[in-house]
Amino acid sequence: MRENSRPMIEARNVSKHFGSFRALHDVSFSVAANEKVVIIGPSGSGKSTLLRSINRLETIDSGSIIVDGVNIADPKVDICNVREEVGMVFQSFNLFPHKTVLENLTLAQLVVRKRSRAEAADRAMELLKKVGIAEKASAYPGKLSGGQQQRVAIARSLAMNPKMMLFDEPTSALDPEMIGEVLDVMKDLAREGMTMAVVTHEMGFAREVADKVIFMDQGAIVEVGTPEHFFTNPSHERARQFLSQIL
């Protein structure tokens, strides 16, 4: 009951400038527990900026973002405590190249969650099995394919037992034949009920997984709807144009 009464992420009237450039303009949206939200829009529309402001990798100029009940725009909040609960997956994987796959998964468990070595390693192996690369545990990230690296990156976030996951174009840097294996991991995660906010150009994924699609343009949310509504009958001209280009 409580889960449903309070959204996991709630952004209200968020604005953000880079110098004089307006990257986000009066953006409001929410993600409920267990909900999967897909954010789409043309390049430069502010999708990454929006996602990154959820865990304060970007600070916002005005408005508020409540993550699991904590207003992260409040400078007094210890953002580390929030970030522990919010997993993030980047377009460029950002694995730690000087650590093995296993160490990539255990590092934050050890220094942030203060788990024991054995506990952290168990959790890591469990997740590596889940994303299908347990045999690469002792390899360095540089030896893995892009698809494998991204699966490790997802596992690394999951190792922290986050309450929600953010994905910023997780498949955009991948060769086409590797996109499927990463999307499959994400679909599994969605099926298990993870709360997810995903920026992607994979419209198939959006249709299949999303509860809600958010379309952004020029720093503003132009349209919000179910995938059904959005892909078949979008109300805004910009959304229609975008879909005709991308589909």
Binding site: C80, R83, S92, A108, V112, R156, M160
Partner: protein, 262 residues
Amino acid sequence: MSTSESPQSHIDVGDGAAIPTKSDVGLFTAWRIAFVGSIACCIFLAVYKPDPYLAIFKFVPDGILVTFKVTVGAILLAIVLGLFTGLGRISTNRLVNGIASLYVEVIRGIPLLVQIFYIYYALGRFVRIPDLFSAIIAMAVCYGAYMGEVFRAGIQSIPKGQMEAALSLGMSRRQAMRHVILPQSIKVVLPPIGNEFIALLKDSSLVSILAVSDLLRRCREFASESFTYFETYTVIALIYLVITLFFSKLIGIMEERLNAGK
């Protein structure tokens, strides 16, 4: 994976590299000629003209020992100073950043010789410490500033996604620095630290101006007693050359190892 084994990858098209790499030059590299040549010169002089060369060479070991003490002491201290300066230069704390930047700017604007005099006499006013230590401190303070820039560049060379990934996992900036950024920076800063080491080795001759009996000073004392200035300076130059050539090779090999490890 197996595509890299295909025969095509071995076909070499074109006239070879436009700029020859080290390995293309062959046996008679400048390094070998200089290194073997200067050792041969030393032996030749000692054998065929023992007077005064053998006497000069006898003064060398003591001096070299002091030169090494100054160099190694100063470089270790400079690395510590440089690490903190480098971290200060990228700190978001205005005060810390300001102090680190000021240190770098001031030191880089004053000739090393002047700094050595200055720190030596300034220290001398307040504390009684052995001359060797003030010489080491003077060299370290100077080189710490340059080392700070080496560390700053090394830290900044790590892609910003690394810090972001660490932060997004809940690490503090300090934890991210310690576990993610600095370990990766080591590889980047090691070669320039090697170069600073060689520069410091040579610059350590400046401390002979103080009452520190390094290689240069020891031999100079001998020269002024025996009036063999030309011969003495020949020996000093050869000895410095052998030492720096040796270390530059060592650092070169180390660097190759590091690159091979990637």
